[in-house]
Structure formats: structure tokens, C-alpha cells
Symmetry: C2
Subunit: 348 residues, 2 copies
Amino acid sequence: MIPSERRKRITIKDVAQVAGVSTQTVSRVMNKFSYVSEGTRQRVEAVVEQLGYRPSTLARSLIQQRSYTLGIVTFGLKYIGPSRTLNGIADKADELGYMLLMKELDNFETNSIDEVIDSLLARQVDGILWVVPEIGDNHAWLDERLTKIPVPVLFLAMQPRDGISSVATDNFQGAVMAMEHLLDCGRKKIGHISGPLSWWEADERKRGWRETLLKIGVDASEEHCTEGNWSSASGEQAFIQLLESFPDLDAVFVANDQMALSVLREAHRRNINVPEQLAVVGFDNIPESAYFYPSLTTISQDLQLLGEQAVQNVVDMIQARQGKQPIISPQSIFIQPTLIVRESSKRV
Amino acid sequence: MIPSERRKRITIKDVAQVAGVSTQTVSRVMNKFSYVSEGTRQRVEAVVEQLGYRPSTLARSLIQQRSYTLGIVTFGLKYIGPSRTLNGIADKADELGYMLLMKELDNFETNSIDEVIDSLLARQVDGILWVVPEIGDNHAWLDERLTKIPVPVLFLAMQPRDGISSVATDNFQGAVMAMEHLLDCGRKKIGHISGPLSWWEADERKRGWRETLLKIGVDASEEHCTEGNWSSASGEQAFIQLLESFPDLDAVFVANDQMALSVLREAHRRNINVPEQLAVVGFDNIPESAYFYPSLTTISQDLQLLGEQAVQNVVDMIQARQGKQPIISPQSIFIQPTLIVRESSKRV
DNA sequence: TATACTTATGAAAACGCTTTCAGAAAACGC
DNA sequence: GCGTTTTCTGAAAGCGTTTTCATAAGTATA
């Protein structure tokens, strides 16, 4: 098969000419809601069909100054979070008639961020979704740059800030749920394996662990917590270290399922019985976690919903700015996770 | 913070006026490689900086008839495959200066496919990447529709077809590698748990299982294979069923790691020792598989590379069509997977 | 000195659409 | 019958660029 030759694009003029009307009339037919006589409409529609005419969204975007496109900035698509969130974003965007213009960040330097935003703006995106985990001060740029962006921007998985719109899972509350469940199971000596603490989400989960313990009068010693980097490999190391610094622990709350998997495995190797001797709770509810051995109790965060909510919000903001709705003031939304109880934390 | 008001876009005219030159001169400065005197260049650049001027890619795309944007059509972002491939696509696209316009398919009806393609074309994408697994005859549309698409289209994870460009993992070869490894381990009674056989990839993996057995003179009975749907849950069912129809098997090749996980777990439950009594090999090499208990031997497919290769190829095709290179004839590329040996298949 | 490039700049057209603006025809009120 | 509104259609301008085309000066060639 020879690649089809570059045919000239069929334009509104072609349709107008064949149908014997002006281009404006064709435009009216395509966009409905305007005075066109029934006869003309049918004639034009027939020609459109016959010629296979499809209006150029590009040209329309140029004149209307809006593109029905959302800019999506991601980081770490290889992590479970961004990738599952994207699924929700894609679904909702489709439902609302928006396309997605994607750009993956490869570092957090300010000029790289400027470049990404500029390239999105150059294509007239109507709004931007920032799907980048908050790590260290990688969101610091927004203090001075954000006001200069002429379209709505919404941040995902970011610590709530006054006057800035964001949507995030309530990691703190999730951790509290995990901890209260362990306490309910009669555990008292609860260790924690955290994610990298430069991540806001990891820090929140750890805070949930600490504050729940403090609430019942137990001191959350730093000895009782080790830090991983989300990977199973790091989870193994963190657990081994934890066993040394906190030998008589009877439960461990692990900041994600992948690291929890290593805990289960290492415990098995050392003949530590789960859940009898050691209860384990993870975070994320990855599909496999129900089939770990033993199956893993975990906190489920609805990333699909997170993505959908984010799109809905940013689209609301866009419409508001078009002046069709009253203006919306920025707000931070928390999505509540849920506890999934499985074998790894059965009550003793 | 009050949302910044909709400032008027700074255009090339503004720059031209302030710098006291014509718009074409500004255009020349922005695009380099044209006669502009040093003095003028510097003056214009200063104004560009001062005004914060950024050219509208939209307008440029309109006149140049190309957008430096790739259309990405996906299906099942929630599956590991498409999502990891996307990572490679994003990286390479960035490297080559392309943006990604994404659209997720929610069904395979022809008019839904037409709509997706039209919406991509309406935005002047320079090429299309079809990141949709081949299931049943969901690629049947391309026979009559493909020639009508005026830009290069490249298919991922599709059965090679004459005259159509595609990039895929060599699933058959991967399966053969898994099987030969099991034979090397001294196993003879090897069962198979397949993915849904309407998927081309699942079918290929099964074919690798069957043909390897035939090659050594063993009949690959249908009794020795059960079918799952990629999920861990289905893997459990499939394994239980397999144990009934093929009770004395000594090895099982499972079509993906998630189902293999269930096999490990169920075997453990039944006190079937892995790998002593039963060797298990998976497919995909998901990050967790190294931390299953026992760790899982598996076939690693480099989806990152797959995505990168796909982008490179489609960009080559685009450039060729721009007439800058000799025309490229369509080709199907197979990416070779690799065997990762771990505990679940140790030699007895 | 005349002829040809090379360098530097601007005027105007074009990309494919939507948006006023304006005019004509038909329908309506009195 | 005349003014007013409603319905229908087209001319022309404009969105923000790039692309010919044209012109003018400077520089090298003969």
C-alpha cells in the first residue's frame, strides 16, 4: 500500500462553492443555532457529507481564542499514582468534550517549568492540570509565576494552599484510618515504613501514624519509623532496619503496597507470622494487593475519581471565566480514601 | 488571590510596533536563519524579552499545515501495557520536540473510531500512534479507513500486516524463551494459563507455548491450558481449573505476572512447593514480581523502548512525507523481550 | 561604470475559520 | 399601504502567524 498522497484539505470554501452558498452560511449550518432555511441546510449538509468536510478546529481556536483543550503536566508516569489519575482525567475530559495536550516534566528547574507552560499556552489550552507530586519545594515557583498564567490552573496531589485550586487524596486521614484499624485489632506497638519524606504525601501519611499514636498517649519515636522510596526493594531494606530498631513491634503501617509486599515476604522468610505476630497495612490498594500472601489490608485511594474531579473543577473554572457563570473562588478539595480489610491484619 | 484578568495576548504586531520594525522582521528573528542585521536582532530580542512575547503555535500550525503534535489513541490506560508504553512515548516525543494530543477510546465501534480520528485531524496532528491492543477484529476498520487518513499512522501491539507500520513486542518469541527455560530446568509437563484469547498478544503467547512443546514432540493438549482475563482473580480460577484437568503438571507458564501471582499464592495454600514441585514463569516483569514469594521468573518486555521506537518511527515517516527524506516504506518491527530468571523456576 | 549578487527590510497575501455588519426578503401589525 | 420585526444570506474584517514578492542598499565582479 502506497502512503496516500497529501490531498489538499477540504475547506469551508470548497463546501460553500459546491453548495452554491457563502462560507458564512456553511459555518451557520455547522454550528446550528442560527437562521438558516431548511432547504439551504439540507443542501449544505449533503455537500458536507459528500465531500467529507471536517472543520479545522485549529482555525476555530485561533479566532475564538479557545481550543477546548486541557494542558496536562505530569511527572513520573511510571508511578502508579499519576498513571491511574490520568485514566480518570481522560474519561472525564472526553465526556465534557475536551482534548488533552500532554507534557511530561523531566526535572523541576524553573526554566524547564516555564518552558512547559509556555508551550501549552502557545497552543491556546483553556486550562492546565498539574499532575505532579509535591516533592521538596518543587511547587515553589507557583508563588510568583501562577498569577501570570492567563488560564485556570488546578493542582493535583498538592498540599492545600490559600487561594489556589487543588484536588488531593486525604493522605493524613487515610493513615489515621489505617492506624485506628490496627489499634482496633489490639495492636499497640505499631511501626511505620514511610515513603520518601520529601514527598508531601509520604509526610502526610507519616503524620497520620504519629498523631494517632500521640492521641492514645503513645510516643511516636523516630526509632519506630524507617524510610523507603516507594519501591519494593527499598521496602525490604526499611523493614529489616525497622526490625532492628524496634524489635518487639506487633504491627507495621507501610506507606504503599509495593513496600508492604516486601514486608510480607521478609516476614515470611524470618518466620514471623502475619497477621498473628505482625499485622501489616499498606496504602494504595493496587490490584495485586488482594492476592498477596496473605492478602493485604490497605487504604484505597480513588485516583480515577481524583482525576475526574480535577477535570470537572478546571472546566468549571474555565466556563466561569468565559463569563457564563459567576466567578468561582479557588478551593482545595480532599478526596477521602477508604479502608480495605484483608487477611494481613486480622484481629488476634 | 483573584484570578488574573484575561489580558490580551501579546502578538507579533505588538513586538513589531514597539521595536519599530515590521512583523516579518520579528518573525525572522524568532525563527533564526534569515538575513537580519545584528542591531535589529538585538533590539527585537530585547522587546520580546521585555514584553514576554511568545509566538502562537496555533497560528503557525495553521499556516504551515503542521503542528508538531502527535495524536495518541489509547485504550485501557488502566492496564500496565498502555500506561508504561505512554511513558516511553512521552519521553521520546519531548526529545524530538513534539507534543502529545491524547484521546482514550471507550469502545471499538467504527463511528466512534472515525470520530476520534476526525477530532485529531481537525487539530492538524502530524501523525497518529494507535496504542490499542488488538482484540478480536477491533482493527478491522483500518482496511478501508486507513488509506483515507492523510497523515502517517503507526500501530502498537498489533499483529504485523503487510504495508502497515507497526511496533510490537515479540510475544511469541517471549513465550518460546519462557518455555525453553522450563525445558532446560528439566520440566516436561508444562501447563499454560493464557490471557483472554481474543487478544492477539494472549494468542501469541499461547502459540509460543504450543509450538515449543510440539517441537520436542509433546502434544500441547487443550486440557493443559486454561484461560484467564489478565486479572489476579481470574488467574486463581484458571489455576484451580488447570490443576483439575492436568493434575500431574510440573510447571506452568502464565501469560502475565498478575495471574502468576495468584498461582504462587494458591500453590502455597495447597502446599505445592514452588519451584520444587511446580515451576512458574510469568510475563511482563512488573516491578513487584521480583518481590513475590518466591520471586517470579518472568519475561520482561521493554515497553518504554517500545514507546520510544514508535515515536521515532512515526516522526521519521512524517519527515519523509515532508519531502525532506526519501519515502519510507511501511514496516513492522518486533521488539525482543528478555528472560529474567528468579526463584520460581530454579532447576531441580 | 555597469552588472550581478548578497544582505536587509517591508507590503501584502494566505492559512481556515468566526464575527460583526448590512442588506434583502418575508411576515406581521395597524 | 407603510413601518416594524423576523428570517435568511453575503461581504468584509479579523485571529496571529509565515510566505512569497518586491525594493533598496551595500558589495563584489567584470
